[in-house]
Amino acid sequence: MSDIGLLLLLCALGTYMWRGLGVLLSGRISIHGDLFTWVTCVTYSMIAGLVMRIIVLPSGLLATSLVWHRLLACMLGLAAYYLFRRNLLLAVGVGAGSLVVLNYLR
């Protein structure tokens, strides 16, 4: 098996472990303790860290666009969400679309 295949297998098992453990422990543990609060913080932080890194310091194709174009596109997506009845699909379309336009007009 290729390296990435092995990695996927381990990641899949590791992910299922949490789901299975949740079923097993349901009704026996409280999820309002410090440990789960900390895990929630780490999860939010890690995803936010990854997303901001991809936006600010991307690799590959995204790196060919300007950083302020990418940040502006995100802001336009966010603005679209609130302006147009909290439609996430539209917000994503506006965000991605505006990067295409900004980058094309450069």
Binding site: I4, L6, L7, L8, L9, L10, C11, A12, G14, T15, Y16, M17, W18, R19, G20, L21, G22, V23, L25, S26, I31, F36, T37, W38, V39, T40, C41, V42, T43, Y44, S45, M46, I47, A48, G49, L50, V51, M52, R53, I55, L57, S59, G60, L61, L62, R70, A73, C74, G77, L78, Y81, L89, A91, V92, G93, A96, G97, L99, V100, Y104
Partner: protein, 234 residues
């Protein structure tokens, strides 16, 4: 097996949440293509990991050449939220008519989208049918995820570069907006800010460990800051 409840779940998957899911997975497919990940990994990860942030972490760190153990640790940490999610969903879907293994199989169906919907819709359905509803919902969502990621992968391959940049940007924009608008607590907001700042900074120090460290450092800092905030000062 309550086939009708399963079908209801599948039908409800193909609604607005399914559309958003499709957009984000099209983006994931495009991003994976530009990171030179094979298509079968894209599809297999959608079925087996079934959690977009975790999949994104895996693909991104792999592309940066991070050590296997670091990738595994980061993926497991971003997906650790499934434990409390499963713990809270079980009382909603539990019914005497099912054997215990049914819940362990249904556990794979738990992801952000299906969890939110099932927590809300579950109590409206007869208790015996809720597991089938959850499985139907997840089957629909997974089918959308698989189809969308494959479509994203192929479109990214064939469309002009001018458009491709937008596709690769779908997933980051989706998470950017989603995380900001879905934040409900002060603690989560602090964690987002800490992680959002820590991620790019740590990337400049150590690209391969930055995702993991941003989570640990930003998350622990947020946890501490939130504590300090809660504790009244004398």
């Amino acid at each position: 097996m309550h086939a009708a409840a399963f079908r209801t779940g599948v039908r409800e998957a193909f609604g607005v949440p399914g559309g958003v899911l499709a957009a984000s997975y099209i983006g994931f497919g495009a991003l994976a293509y530009s990171s030179a990940i094979p298509l079968w990994i894209v599809i297999a990860s959608t079925v087996t990991i079934w959690a977009l942030p975790g999949q994104l972490v895996m693909v991104d760190m792999w592309q940066l050449g991070a050590p296997l153990i670091a990738i595994l640790l980061a993926v497991m940490l971003t997906n650790a939220r499934f434990l409390p999610m499963a713990v809270t969903l079980m009382p909603v879907i539990r019914d005497r008519s099912h054997r215990p293994w049914v819940y362990y199989a249904a556990a794979q169906c738990i992801a952000m989208s299906s969890w939110i919907i099932c927590m809300r819709r579950g109590p409206e359905l007869p208790a015996a049918e809720r597991v089938d509803y959850l499985c139907g919902l997840a089957a629909g969502f997974i089918a959308i995820g698989v189809g969308a990621s494959a479509i994203g992968y192929y479109i990214a391959e064939s469309i002009p570069q001018v458009m491709r940049i937008g596709m690769v940007f779908l997933a980051p924009v989706y998470f950017f907006v989603f995380l900001i608008v879905e934040v409900r607590t002060r603690m989560a907001a602090i964690a987002l800010v800490c992680g959002g700042i820590a991620g790019p900074l740590l990337y400049q120090l150590t690209p391969q460990w930055s995702v993991l460290l941003a989570g640990f450092i930003g998350g622990t800092l947020a946890f501490g800051l939130n504590r300090a905030w809660e504790r009244p000062r004398e």
